[in-house]
């Protein structure tokens, strides 16, 4: 149930003009064309894990989800009812993770996810956003990050992790706000809040690789849930905070943590959201997977052959790293260095299925958990079939979902990030080894 504050945020009366405005400004012409050319052929249905996991219920097919929501909004030129908007929330948020797999199968290349985005913006304009997601978005508004962490909290966490790790890697520091370095590292607010060891791990890797980098004291948040909550204005502000900090520090590149939607936001959608009409980010964006691959290939990071993973390993392609980020082969190269027994899921790479936690689904909280577990069945089956014991997951979102699926479907696996594996099995050059006591 939405709380009082949220109900208040809901507009009492439909503002047709406002809806029309959203529909027209957000790529209206292209959307109308798509809606017109959709042949209702159903080729997209089998591509969608929601459809497959929900007994092929036609209401879960991509074309239906669009027709029944955004299609109606256009058809009625914005003259829809509040109950319609409320009902649309279900299809737009609980039945699609905007993974874009369906577009690969549509003969016309119709971008279902782009239409879902517009539907979400219309709902958001009237205060219809799943409650927990709306709350997380509120955090961004007040603090610039998902967890409402203060600048002091963040800096202290980095100092803490620097102290913790100094015993393991001699000379390790977490440089703060150092200008004119190669990389500004950006991360997911879950890291300082729930997984500070992730910060320690990246610092270990970057230290051993002798990288030129800095942690920014502000603009470090690379996630962007407002983007999935239909709040394009706030989404733009969040990305611009990061770009601006990178410009202030005069860094060469922004390095994004192992997070899928952060990469999508920072590299692909962010520029549009924050007003760069050519869609090109003002600073080059690199995902951690790319950098790790470069380190392994160049030998800046070497794996201890005796520690290379022996147990069966599979790789989760986060939609926004692989299919929508183009890094599926890079992920395979990294796996070659880390694991002796690597097993592909089927399908895989750019055709891999979404884990079921993307598009803002996990932050939608407990209210949607049961549905999230039902639609995650496809991913659970994919993982089980590989026989893997370890799932390497370069995305925070997939990480949570796969952990939940592990419990729900009794998969008997462990999920880990690439960082974690690297820290376990990389060789530490003598100069970084702590002095013997």
């Amino acid at each position: 149930m939405p709380d009082e504050k949220q109900l208040k945020a809901r507009i009492k009366k439909v503002n047709i003009k406002k809806i029309k405005n959203v529909l027209e400004t957000l790529d209206g012409a292209r959307i109308k064309t798509w809606l017109n050319i959709c042949a209702k052929c159903g080729l997209c249905a089998e591509s969608c894990f929601f459809y497959l996991a929900n007994d092929k219920n036609p209401e879960f097919s991509p074309a239906y989800k669009i027709k029944s929501t955004v299609g109606e909004m256009y058809k009625k030129k914005g003259d829809v009812s509040l109950p319609f908007l409320e009902a649309s929330m279900e299809a737009l948020w609980a039945r699609c993770t905007m993974c874009k797999r369906c577009s690969q199968f549509c003969p016309f290349g119709i971008d279902i996810a782009a239409m879902i985005t517009i539907g979400r913006s219309v709902c958001q304009s009237h205060g219809f956003v799943p409650e927990f997601l709306a709350k997380a978005v509120e955090n961004y508004r007040v603090s610039g990050n998902q967890m409402a962490l203060t600048k002091d909290d963040f800096i202290e966490t980095c100092e803490w992790m620097e102290e913790e790790t100094a015993d393991e890697i001699k000379g390790l520091t977490i440089p703060m706000d150092v200008p004119e370095v190669k990389f500004m590292y950006t991360l997911n607010a879950r890291e300082p809040m729930y997984y500070p060891q992730d910060i320690a791990q990246i610092a270990q890797i970057l230290t051993v690789a002798e990288e030129s980098w800095t942690m920014p004291s502000e603009g470090w948040e690379c996630t962007n849930l407002p983007m999935f909550a239909g709040d394009r204005t706030l989404a733009g502000i969040i990305v611009e905070n990061m770009y601006q900090k990178a410009r202030d520090l005069k860094v060469d590149k922004i390095l994004v943590t192992e997070c899928g939607h952060a990469y999508r936001s920072t590299k692909y959608e962010g520029p549009y959201l924050s007003g760069y009409p050519d869609g090109i980010p003002p600073i080059e964006i690199i995902h951690s997977v790319e950098l790790f691959c470069e380190y392994l290939e160049s030998g800046r990071i070497k794996i201890d052959p005796s520690k290379k993973l022996k147990e069966p390993v599979t790789y989760q392609d986060p939609c926004n790293v692989s299919r929508n980020g183009g890094l599926w082969d890079i992920g395979r190269i990294v796996m070659g260095y880390l694991a002796d027994d690597f097993r592909e899921m089927s399908p895989n790479k750019d055709y891999n299925h979404c884990c079921g936690g993307g598009g803002g689904y996990i932050p939608m909280g407990p209210e949607y958990r049961v549905k999230r577990m039902v639609s995650g069945k496809i991913k659970a089956e994919q993982i089980r079939k590989t026989g893997a014991k370890l799932v390497i997951v370069p995305c925070h979102n997939c990480f949570d979902q796969i952990n939940d699926l592990n419990e729900e479907y009794d998969l008997g696996i462990k999920s880990v990030s690439i960082k974690e594996v690297l820290c376990e099995i990389m060789m530490i050059p003598d100069k970084f080894k702590p002095d013997e006591e």
């Binding site: 927990f132 955090n139 409402a148 202290e156 879950r190 729930y194 500070p196 909280g365 407990p366 949570d400």
Partner: protein, 191 residues
């Protein structure tokens, strides 16, 4: 000996003994006692705490209210346990009054218990952490639910055992684990 002692309250009555020990040590060392409680979040996607029953407790107001309740609870515990001892204490033969209102601060945070306790201990420069012990005996892998009452309610978070172990093994300062009389195990030695 100590300047700041951190007592981790998990809201289980079984940790009362640990609290009393922490208080005694704080008095002995003339140290400040910090009573700290972490509201565990089952949801790691916002700074809002979502408890396992999906109740959302997110703002400072709620944390303050819980801190107030902790204060009420432990003040009562102090007055019923230290009635005679707390007022006068003999040190080197000279009677010294022990403050009847000991220096205690109550703090509540949301998040992951291990992370928040360690983070807080570092921030406050804590030199001793005191926790209840049963948490050590709870095996996460075992299906058996420990019989501990949570304010009269026999619900138990099975993850607490690993939390205590983690803190014991990760804290930079000494950690004291206290077992209340009713929960002590019989001595069983392997052959």
């Amino acid at each position: 000996m100590y300047d700041k002692i951190l007592f981790c309250s998990d809201l289980f009555v079984s940790t009362d003994q640990a609290f009393l020990n922490a208080l005694q040590m704080a008095n002995d060392s003339d140290a400040q006692l910090l009573v700290f409680h972490v509201l565990e979040s089952g949801h790691r996607y916002s700074g809002h705490v979502e408890t396992y029953d999906a109740e959302v407790v997110s703002d400072a107001e709620v944390f303050d209210k819980i801190a107030g309740n902790l204060k009420k609870y432990y003040s009562k515990l102090i007055s019923s346990n230290f009635k005679d001892k707390i007022e006068i204490k003999a040190t080197g033969g000279v009677p010294i009054p022990v403050p009847s209102t000991p220096d205690i601060r109550y703090e509540v945070r949301g998040g992951n218990a291990v992370i928040e306790i360690l983070r807080f201990a570092r921030k406050e420069d804590i030199d001793l952490i005191v926790m209840g012990s049963y948490t050590l005996g709870v095996d996460d892998e075992s299906d058996e639910e420990p019989k501990v009452e949570q304010n009269g309610d026999p619900k138990v978070e099975p993850s607490l055992g690993s939390n205590a172990k983690q803190i014991l093994l990760s804290a930079k300062c000494p950690v004291l684990i206290v077992t209340p009389p009713g929960q002590r195990l019989n001595i069983e030695l392997d052959d």
